[in-house]
Amino acid sequence: MSKEKFTLLESTCVPLPFENIDTDQIIPARFLSATSREGFGENLFRDWRYDKSGNKNMEFVMNNPLFGGKILIAGKNFGSGSSREHAVWAIYDYGFRAVVSSFFADIFRNNALNNGLLPVVVPEKFLDKLMDLVSNDPSQKVSIDLENQVISIIPGGDSVQFEINPHKKECLLKGLDDIDYLLSRKDQIIAFETAKTAKDED
């Protein structure tokens, strides 16, 4: 099944200058009882966005009307903790299309790539600079060029290259889906099973 293609993204950003943001923060477990992929954006960072009585915490950046955009900028080691893909669905559903950090947890990164959310790994120095610029000026824009693997502060600011697995890059650019890919390899999988059973019975 084809997915939304990721090409060039140019947007303002939302800064979250905290390290080790875990998946329990991104989407608390008590909101995991849904059985569809939709609607998780509503509870993204729930316990930071709302206080105990359910009122908006106006100090939290996502409740500041000045900040918005499709790029989330977060401190080091983003997405650690549980394997819940709901974390990615929530970020995507809220409207983000890329997360920029200096370090991502493995499962989160895989989940993001499987859902058209681009995790962009940048050097810590660049991240610090970006975080400062964006925090001080909500109108600051950033562009992410997946084809050329470049993230730039615009206009005229710094830019850096970022790494992405070539296979994943192609999937994102073309909106391809890994399950379709695997299904197209059914014959090889069956051949592997047959060979393996024969070997185990040696």
Partner: protein, 467 residues
Amino acid sequence: MEPKTLFDKIWDSHVVQSVEKGPDILYIDQHFIHEVTSPQAFNGLRKRGIPVFRPERTLATADHNIPTKDQDKPIRNELSRNQVDRLTENCRDFGIEYFGLNHPSNGIVHVIGPELGYTRPGMTIVCGDSHTSTHGAFGAVAFGIGTSEVEMVLATQCILQPKPGKMRISVNGKLGKGVTAKDVIMYIISQISTGGATGYFVEYAGSVIRDLSMEGRMTVCNMSIEMGARGGLIAPDNKTMNYLKDLPSFPLGFDWEALLTQWNSFKSDPGAVFDRELQFDGSLIRPMITYGTNPGMGMAIDDSIPEIGDIKAEDAPSFLKLLDYMGFKPGMKLLGHPVDYVFVGSCTNGRIEDLREFARIVKGRKKAPGVTALIVPGSKAVEKQAISEGINNILQKAGFELRQPGCSSCLAMNEDKIPPGKYAVSTTNRNFEGRQGPGSRTLLASPLVAAAAAITGKLSDPREFIR
């Protein structure tokens, strides 16, 4: 032949094909599913109009959101009930074996896999749950995956995975009195931080690991993910084979002879190269406790929280913010700090050995009056065993109650929540903000530390209570 690591041997023998410049197509021997991370995957299959490719290689259980009381009655929370009903339906429609609520084999997915003989040396094992690393204790390559990957496994029995790096962590020496497997892994994480093993698959080795029981090894492998590792594994030995041999139940068609002829090769060859090697001295480890909101913030129970001067300047603000959430101050000692809740359970410490350890300390003593305790077995089998061994009696006499199995307060998807601001000594694996309920303050620890807190009502050194 070039010497290979155990991880390489297992991984390489499961690669169907390598995608050019991309990940490997990895064949999965055993897949586990539960109610929370599977419904969207089944929806995907329905949308595509395809069946489950190898239904006999998937096993389902309900564990994450179920109540730990009155399991024979309908689940009261509507969303939870709906999620469990959907799993029941999906397993029926797609022909998957399912140990639902009240089934004698029901329990936490990472507890029942090993105890029912589904987890065996040399296998590849995945589940939509990060603590799948637990199964690595048997010398299997086991790791957590997301729901899109659950759908891949259901559809093709394979996933696309980049091969992680290899790390070996050796713990040598001898553990002191009152120091358990939980303290070993909490100590390692406190030394290398929550991101310290990201990108790696860890093999644990050394005399301390060898000396651990299978339950202890599962506890160690379980928390591999808390230092970012893709998974953790331990080479199988006689202990592993004896554990397996004594299991009452194996899945249908299990070939014990084939396993016996193979298992000796399940180890890293001498001279095999790891991308990173770490060594620890087990005799330095003391009973551990966490003081912050990630599992890397751990210390020996009789230590003090670091002073602000010991923290890197740029990390100071977030350090203070985390301590503030916990209601602690830099430099503070935690021994003697009041405790409101004690939780014993989860896939980290919800096995029979953990209940035995807890009972060893509380036997003949009384629960402290101000403490609310939740003792939740990891599975129906553990519950049954605890009753037959008389552990249940010991607990009752001391003022505790054995609940019914499930994940419970580990992630607080059911009613078992820790109220805001309350301190819980918990034998689980995550102390994230709000993990055990909004505003809850979690202190991770071993069952012995939990027992000492439960009878004194404050953080206490378990070594004082071991007879």
